[in-house]
Symmetry: C2
Subunit: 376 residues, 2 copies
């Protein structure tokens, strides 16, 4: 039934809008937030200041952004109705499922259209608090309340692990949050913009984004990198393990990216961070898997421009700061709430309903129901 | 900063995929489900049989579909963990917000990729049960359990209103559910397919769809038709009321549709149903508003192909069967779960990650952070 109509399946190369939030230079390996290369932000620029940059368009007057720090503090305590839903999620559910329900629970009727910066602050502030609360309860612990004296990154890491984190771990996590804060028109951000384009609200749209981030082709796979490293076990076994796996036509996790045809700049920075915070044996193992994996993949496909992606050293960094694997994707989402908020504001500022078409290739019209219909 | 890159804002006329589920003939006023014009289904073909048609591609062997009726019965009782979340949603929240959280709650880790027909039956069966349970609790009533002896439409109407519905009301609601079961690549279905394209699951994707349906540019506006009819109050006042409203540059709800350049075939059928079930004075009022509204809009824009849309007589029908306005959009969603399930299966059967591009128009790269960065 295929016809001559050109089908933009996957929407590759379809430019859906203009945006001034971030630029993904897939050919050159660049990621830019409002004119700032991520190398100009990581390490050292606080997450609060990057939230400021993304939501206001310009850097704050001081670091960490006083406006954003105050707004996040002001919204750190979710309202009772939201807490009651979050506290009803059965312990033991995957935290990523719980986080989707938590984001939906934020939408209690008080988020409207158009979305506001304040809506964004509520989302950014409350997602980690509620996620950590769920994780603690799932582990049989009491919730740890956010400490207004701590940074966003330190609060999150402390609430979710139940320990006062080491300064190096906080710095590493903060860099991760900054690096994952936005990434152009990825699938979850696109889903968010589709939702906003109907004049839906930010809580709804962020829920749609999380529902989309969840898939392993987007954000749902980083834990598999850690599982893969465990399975290899030792740097010396990397080559044989990879050869065997590829012979079984199974994929290597953390390799390749739709946008980047060179090194993913986030992964390079996360590799540098891993060198500082990771267990040396684990780092050697990861580097061996990367090295042998790329060699094997390139040998199988000469000329392929293939590199490890942000999930690869992202997983090593998240392991190293003490996060369990089931929190890797939720932590990605916690970082991305900033970008989602910025994109919601941008979409609403010059909105048009996003509604593509499809080509109908089913049976031609005019079929008759095989039985008499009930009379009305 | 606009450049020469063509921007497909709104994705108008971008054909994103092929589909054999439904065809929207916007020029001719047709809606076809797998070869069956909706006129061949409404009135009289049970919702269960239309679910069968959408999910299996062919009509069932008998009406109502024995397979679908059995599957929906089998899934009518949500698991305790899902109930616990649904029962924690604060009473008094808009049911549409509650329904988004309910759909998310279905995703307890047991929905996977690829989605299955069974996943679809769970979604279709449990969404109305949980929504009705919430609505009853919000109204201070005890939940009414689904009765396996009743049809999907009768169960829903009885559970949500707390009364045994009149047969004519059940038939009218059933027709509404059939007419709203699918509609090509609309925004919520597209959001669902974006989510599935990352290999996310059906509970997540349906949550994303509902988040998108919520916007007034998609499914969030039908209650406004009823409010508008109330405001007009009497058929004799329609002309003056509309003139005044248009003079204030305010829109008329239930008029116009992006896809249809002629009568929306669903609206024609719903008008016929309204003639049977609506209060005569209310029907006259609606017809007067339609008539005077179209006359005024066409006078203001000669040559415009403008008609009332499915929300117009949809609202009149939903009022007439006893549903409160805040349930209009949730009831639309209850109908659409069938189409969402079908589209999730179709997307997964030949999947490609849906990830468009955008043109970066922000400040050029190379900016330097205004202050020294913290050392890592």
């Amino acid at each position: 039934m295929a016809s001559a109509i050109p089908i933009a399946k996957g929407l590759d190369h379809v430019v859906v809008d203009r945006s001034s939030i971030s630029w993904v230079g897939g050919g050159t390996g660049e990621l830019v937030y409002r004119g700032f290369d991520i190398d100009a932000l990581v390490p050292g620029v606080p997450y609060e200041s990057v939230v400021h940059l993304l939501l206001y368009g310009e850097p704050p007057s001081a670091d960490p952004s006083p406006e954003v720090a105050a707004a996040l503090r002001a919204h750190q305590r979710p309202p009772p109705g939201v807490l009651s839903i979050a506290d009803a999620i059965p312990a033991g559910q995957p935290p990523l499922e719980a986080l989707r329900t938590i984001l939906s629970a934020l939408g209690d009727g008080s988020f409207g259209y158009p979305p506001t910066r304040e809506d964004g602050f509520r989302l950014i502030a409350q997602a980690p608090v509620l996620l950590a609360r769920y994780v603690r309860r799932s582990a049989g612990g009491a919730p740890i309340e956010p400490d207004p004296a701590l940074s966003h990154a330190e609060n999150y890491l402390g609430m979710v692990t139940g320990r006062r984190p080491a300064p190096a771990a906080v710095r590493a996590l903060e860099s991760y949050l900054v690096l994952l804060a936005d990434h152009g028109m990825n699938a979850s951000t696109f889903a968010l913009r589709v939702a906003i384009s109907t004049q839906s609200d930010l809580a709804s749209a962020a829920t749609a984004a999380l529902a989309t981030l969840k898939g392993p082709l987007h954000g749902g796979a980083p834990a598999k990198v850690s599982e893969m490293l465990d399975a290899v076990g030792d740097a010396g076994r990397a080559e044989a393990w990879i050869a065997e796996r590829l012979a079984r036509k199974e994929i290597l996790f953390g390799f390749g990216h739709r946008a980047y045809k060179t090194e993913d700049p986030r992964n390079l920075l996360l590799h540098a961070i891993a060198r500082r915070v990771a267990d040396p044996a684990r780092l050697r193992l990861a580097e061996a898997v990367e090295d042998r994996g790329l060699a094997a993949l390139r040998a199988a496909k000469p000329g392929a421009r293939l590199y490890t992606n942000v999930e690869f050293y992202g997983a090593v960094v998240l392991e190293s700061v003490g996060l369990p694997r089931e929190l890797f994707t939720p932590t990605f989402a916690v970082a991305r709430t900033a970008g989602w908020a910025a994109h919601a504001l941008e979409q609403a500022a010059d909105n048009r309903l996003i509604r593509p078409e499809m080509e109908y290739v089913g049976p031609p019209a005019g079929r008759r129901w095989p039985r008499p219909r009930a009379t009305a």
